[in-house]
């Protein structure tokens, strides 16, 4: 079993299988990839590449990796703490032997071609020796020269010498040379004086490094729009107008106000809070016609978080269209507006003006009834858009930019740039959120490694941990670390008191607190205390083990201890966050949880991980665009792939789509795809077939397919689920659908446009109705693509007949990203847009044989509009494939409430399932465009490849174990195990657990009346110790 957290570390006892690439890779290719930009995109790409067996040079122009995600407080739509989910990845990068980090570095030249590039890097001086610096921060206290802190969005001033932020990687100081007294005038040098590690080095010079890599991934992200340009909102003039990125820092517990939402002008409280949307986006007057895709959601998020911090805050969001189009977004928005006190005002505020003497900000808007309203706010947040910052890097790398200055990429595989061997992921390719960035990151890892198969593993260094120290027989010596988590825990729980208490507990020989237990420097520190105090167990009281246990376990290993000698107490999610107003009780409960964890820790034993061989073959279920792409990627990488399609024909929904919104020829692409798949030497195709029974586990699945020729059994190491989705079928009679042939769906319209334009010749007036079967109580989610599809088809109609009247009745136009350009084009070509309310949908009527549409246009105070029409087109959404309900349990993977497959982690593991070795792509995951589906398929292939490329999977040490001395031979457990992991040894009359099959559920242990069967890591005495500690008073 694996923990749900993404554990990307290459296990030391694992060997890589060299690839047998069939694609363009030459024998001379280099087994290393350069990743430029260390935001979440670059980080994920790096980690994936390492897992796939390539060395990575990760280059960031700043002093630390982390990017914008490192500055965010929480992330939508799960409200996960951004730093909490990011920092394990930061630490992983920092501690990976196979990622070489170049910070304060820029790429200045590239030569060569795909497979073998020579890259020239300019590495700026840090003026601190990273090998010596401990990140202690003493120097920072000495430096008197302060500058604006970019990490805090310039809201706070910070000394020139500093560690960029607590969780920074590398977690060492640097000197901002711009105003350093020593570097400019030869004076001061205080920092050098006080540094005990003698790490400050003023003599460092800029240097140039030359590196050979096989391919390059660009992930340099973006810059936020400069809000000063929209001068009507007074940013930069009025203190109480801030940007969203600044507000993100204001919300952050480690930010300039410690997470308190305060006015900038006077530090006073904020009650009325306003957000103005689309600042610098969807705005041709500033040259940014595209939609920034994330700001509607982050404004909602920031509203919710602000209210979480202070209940009496009343947030208002001034917007044009609410673009909550992604997975879980619409539900998030609904909840925010209906239950969580966020007010949405559909009007773009015209100005923000400061009032005197209050410093309040006045916003003018028009309400739904047409009244001109002026309202005062304490603080106004401008939802600034995303702007590309790619020109320089793109120039050096020689890749083309698109119309808006983002990197131009292939329409179907959105990470492929104009230059072979160079790939792009994240916002540099177009505005997107974190999960979409992560998908592209994995996809670019897939593409970047494609040509390098032959060099796989060549440059990989195996992690050499110090040998595990033998602790059996030793008295437990427990170290207790209590985390403040900034103010997340420290703001509620009396941390020093908990530390004091921990010191009094039996076996605890050391206890102390840390500001961030997960930071890189703390890992260093833990290794130190383990050594200094001769610790043989560790207990960390911090956040949830579900995300952070792997990090600390790795630290245990690097400290020379078995990683299972570690226990966590969750005093954040289960304590400080849920008892925010009860500091005394929360402190008491923390002590209790610490006592329980310490009680268990004392009894922990070292466990051994098992290894199980990998069958280097893949099963892909679903032969639509996503499934075929995944199969091709895996086949190209040299892995035999079984592709199972239940229909007689490959292609899925792509068969019914003719053009992409950008005009790409879907049919031609599909034909090419089908051709390649059908003739691929590594792909075995099963048409008209389905999956019957799935047995086994990661690395070693055994599946029975039902095929026209009877059952076929296949062995494989991974599964990719690409079973797609279906068009929502309008209900009989919904808008006369099925009763009047002039009422059709968008798919049918598209077919007629391309296959039967004659049938549209007499059509003069067309009305489209959006959100049919989406965004209602029955199907609360937004189908994401139908707004763009409607715009696409409306434009096609206008092209066929410029005089045709085309009206689209919508609730919000959700043409996110560059599709906004097509929305603008549609308007300019005279397509009418009429906005209706959910409670007052359009009505289709018959009048003497004519079709009549009546709708209350909310844009003009709900006045009724009457349109005669020849054709009514229903924009029916995408519904989940009903097969999923059956397939999910077979694969032991969950579905969301909407019936789509539910990934392991909505933000950071968008193609993985919690069940190892099973991955998802395409419509099976959520509605998305073709480009997004195919890109996700590449990402799934990359993740699958990281399993297949290894000889073995490492199984967890948490498995059942039968004490043969005690076993009475009752066979209770044998019958009970759902995984058939227990055999009965008839000879000796005892039960024997097969640890490769055992999933570590512990069901058998509860059934064993003789107490012979125990789950390692959750042994009975350990649980009893916890129970006892829980029940006894402190």
């Amino acid at each position: 079993m694996h923990n749900i957290n993404n554990n990307n570390q290459i296990p030391q006892n694992d060997t890589l299988v060299p690839g047998t690439s069939v694609s363009s890779g030459t024998n001379a290719s280099v087994g290393a990839v350069m990743v430029v930009g260390g935001g979440i995109g670059g980080i994920q790409a790096s980690l994936d590449l390492v897992e796939m067996g390539y060395r990575v040079y990760l280059v960031d122009s700043g002093p630390s990796i982390g990017g914008v995600m490192g500055q965010l407080d929480k992330t939508f739509p799960t409200n996960d703490c951004s730093m909490c989910i990011l920092s394990p990845k930061l630490v992983e990068v920092g501690s990976s032997e196979n990622i070489e980090l170049f910070t304060l570095s820029d790429v200045v030249g590239v030569e060569g071609e795909e497979g073998d590039f020579t890259v020239e890097l300019r590495v700026r001086p840090r003026f601190v020796d990273p090998e010596k610096c401990t990140g202690c921060g003493i120097c920072t206290e000495q430096c008197r020269v302060k500058v604006k802190d970019p990490y805090d969005a310039d809201l706070k001033r910070t000394p020139l010498i500093r560690v960029p932020f607590p969780q920074a990687v590398p977690g060492v100081a640097f000197i901002d040379p711009t105003r350093c007294l020593y570097l400019l005038k030869g004076k001061c040098g205080e920092c050098k004086e006080v540094c005990l590690a003698d790490a400050v080095d003023f003599e460092q010079k800029e240097r140039t490094d030359t590196l050979r890599v096989g391919s390059i991934v660009m992930a340099p992200g973006y810059r936020p729009f400069d809000a000063r340009i929209k001068a009507e909102y007074g940013y930069g003039v009025y203190d109480n107008v801030v940007t969203s990125l600044e507000f993100e820092r204001i919300l952050a517990a480690n930010g300039p106000t410690g997470g308190h939402v305060l006015r900038r002008s006077d530090g006073g409280p904020v009650r009325k809070l306003a957000f103005i949307q689309c600042v610098g986006s969807r705005d041709t007057s500033v040259g940014n016609s595209y939609c920034s895709s994330v700001c509607c959601m982050y404004a909602t998020k920031q509203s919710l978080i602000a209210r979480e911090h202070q209940r009496d805050i009343e947030p208002s969001i001034f917007f044009i269209d609410m673009r909550s189009y992604g997975k879980g977004f619409e539900e998030y928005y609904r909840k925010a507006s209906r239950e969580q006190g966020v007010r949405y005002v559909r009007c773009l505020a015209s100005y923000a003006k400061e009032l005197r003497p209050s410093g309040n900000i006045l916003i003018g808007y028009t309400d739904e009834d047409g009244n001109a309203v002026e309202e005062e706010f304490d603080l106004v947040v401008l939802s600034v858009g995303i702007e590309p910052d790619a020109a320089g890097l793109a120039g050096v790398l020689g890749v083309a930019l698109g119309e808006h200055g983002f990197v131009a990429t292939d329409e179907f595989l959105t990470v492929k740039t104009s230059r072979p061997g160079v790939y792009a992921c994240g916002v540099v390719e177009g505005p997107k959120d974190i999960p979409d960035t992560v998908v592209q990151a994995s996809a670019s890892a897939d593409m970047a490694s494609a040509g390098l198969g032959a060099a796989r593993g060549e440059l990989i260094v195996h992690v050499e941990h110090p040998p595990e120290r033998e602790v059996v027989g030793e008295e437990p010596r427990i170290g207790a670390v209590i985390c403040r988590c900034g103010t997340n825990i420290g703001g509620v729980v009396d941390v020093p008191a908990v530390v004091e208490y921990a010191r009094t507990l039996p076996n605890v020989v050391f206890a102390d607190e840390r500001l961030y237990a997960c930071s890189q420097d703390t890992q260093e520190w833990i290794r130190d205390i383990v050594r200094e105090h001769g610790l043989n167990r560790l207990m960390v009281a911090s956040c949830t083990p579900r995300t952070h246990q792997p990090l600390f376990r790795d630290t245990m290993r690097s400290a020379g201890l078995n990683k299972y000698l570690f226990e966590m107490a969750n005093i954040r999610e289960h304590c400080s966050w849920v008892h925010m107003n009860l500091p005394d009780e929360a402190t008491g409960k923390s002590k209790h949880l610490v006592k329980m964890a310490v009680g268990k820790a004392a009894l922990l034993e070292p466990l051994q991980e098992g290894v199980s061989p990998v069958t280097p073959r893949a099963l892909v279920i679903g032969g639509g665009g996503a499934g075929m792409t995944a199969a091709l990627r895996l086949g190209d990488a040299g892995f035999t792939t079984y592709l199972v399609e239940k229909e007689l024909e490959l292609g899925g929904n792509m068969r019914h789509i003719f053009r992409t919104v950008e005009g790409g020829d879907v049919g031609a692409y599909l034909e090419e795809l089908v051709g390649k798949v059908s003739s691929h030497g590594n792909i075995e195709l099963f048409l008209d077939s389905t999956v019957d029974v799935v047995d086994g586990y990661v690395g070693k699945f055994h599946t029975t397919l039902s095929t026209p020729g009877g059952p076929v059994e296949v062995d494989h190491g991974v599964v990719v689920v690409a079973t797609g989705g279906v068009e929502y079928e309008p209900k009989e009679g919904e808008y006369f659908f099925g009763r009047d042939e002039r009422v059709i769906t968008q798919a049918e319209l598209e077919r007629r446009i391309h296959q039967d334009p004659g049938s549209l010749a007499g059509v003069r007036d067309v009305v489209m109705i959006q959100c049919v079967g989406s965004r209602n109580d029955e199907n609360p989610y937004c189908s994401k693509i139908c707004c763009t599809v409607a715009v696409k088809n409306a434009l096609a109609l206008k092209r066929l007949n410029p005089d045709a009247g085309v009206h689209i009745c919508y609730r919000d136009v959700r043409t996110y990203g560059f599709a906004e350009d097509r929305y603008l084009e549609a308007r300019e070509r005279g397509v009418g847009f009429i906005r209706f309310d959910e409670d007052e949908p359009p009505e289709v009527k018959h009048s003497f044989g004519d079709l009549l549409l009546k709708v209350a246009d909310r844009n003009v105070r709900g006045e009724e509009v009457s349109l005669g029409c020849d054709l009514v087109v229903l924009s029916t959404g995408v519904a989940a494939n009903p097969d999923a309900a059956e397939l999910g349990p077979k694969l032991k993977v969950p579905l969301s409430a909407d019936g789509f497959f539910l990934e392991a982690h909505v933000k950071l593991r968008p193609v993985d399932f919690a069940t190892d070795g099973v991955f998802v792509a395409g419509l099976a995951h959520y509605p998305k465009t073709i480009g997004e589906s195919l890109t996700q398929a590449c990402a799934a292939a990359a993740r699958a490849e990281s399993v297949l490329c290894k000889e073995n999977v490492v199984t967890e040490g948490v498995v059942a174990w039968v004490d043969e001395e005690v076993c009475s031979g009752c066979r209770q457990c044998v019958r009970l195990c759902s995984y058939e992991a227990i055999d009965f040894d008839e000879e000796r009359g005892v039960a024997v657990v097969n640890s490769a099959l055992c999933k570590g559920c512990g069901a058998c242990t509860a059934a064993c009346t003789s107490g012979a069967n125990t789950l390692l890591g959750f042994k009975q005495d350990q649980i009893y110790a916890q129970i006892e500690a829980a029940c006894n008073p402190l």
Binding site: W577, G588, Y979, C1001, T1005, A1006, A1030, N1032
Partner: protein, 165 residues
């Protein structure tokens, strides 16, 4: 947790132990935390991989040690990460309930709930409700008895002996 005999409402300050499965209920509790949903601080929890791992002994042990209420929470039936662990939980739960009744501990002190990873709100609500219910029932009679007379503690231990492994 400080043990005040009485809280403001004149009800007993009770203590509850929750067994949470790693995949759903523990995650649901995490979500409650991430969503900052507030609930009473009377509960401490033990994380187990699957609710199916919880044996009647664990529950009895807790009551023997004077706990006022026990909550077992797992994935919804059908959603078990281990296929049918929670089904076994369900069956065992019936047994535990009967045993408890036999030794005079009412069923209002024991609860089984299915909480998914997405049900932070439900988790908080379950804790709120169950805490109320246990408060209504008051301190565990076992605890009160030994708090009256420490010697009772040994008697209780003996009485439980045949029930525990």
């Amino acid at each position: 947790m400080s043990r005040k005999p009485e809280n403001n409402n004149g009800k007993d300050e009770v203590k509850i132990l929750a067994f949470l499965c790693n995949w759903c209920s523990y995650a649901g509790a995490d979500l409650a935390g991430v969503s900052r949903l507030q609930y009473p601080p009377n509960v401490v929890d033990i994380r187990v991989m699957c609710s199916g791992t919880i044996s009647p002994y664990h529950v009895l042990k807790a009551f023997q040690m004077g706990i006022d209420g026990v909550l077992i929470a797992g994935c919804h039936i059908g959603d078990c990460h281990y296929i049918k662990g929670n089904y076994m939980t369900y069956k065992r739960f019936q047994v535990i309930r009967d045993v408890l009744e036999f030794i005079g501990i009412g069923e209002d002190r024991l609860r089984l709930e299915w909480v998914s990873a997405a049900e932070g709100e439900k988790f908080a609500e379950v804790i709120r409700e169950f805490t109320g219910q246990v408060e209504q029932a008051g301190a565990s009679p076992l605890r009160t008895r030994w708090e009256e007379n420490p010697a009772n503690r040994e008697r209780i231990r003996k009485a439980f002996k045949p029930l525990l492994p």
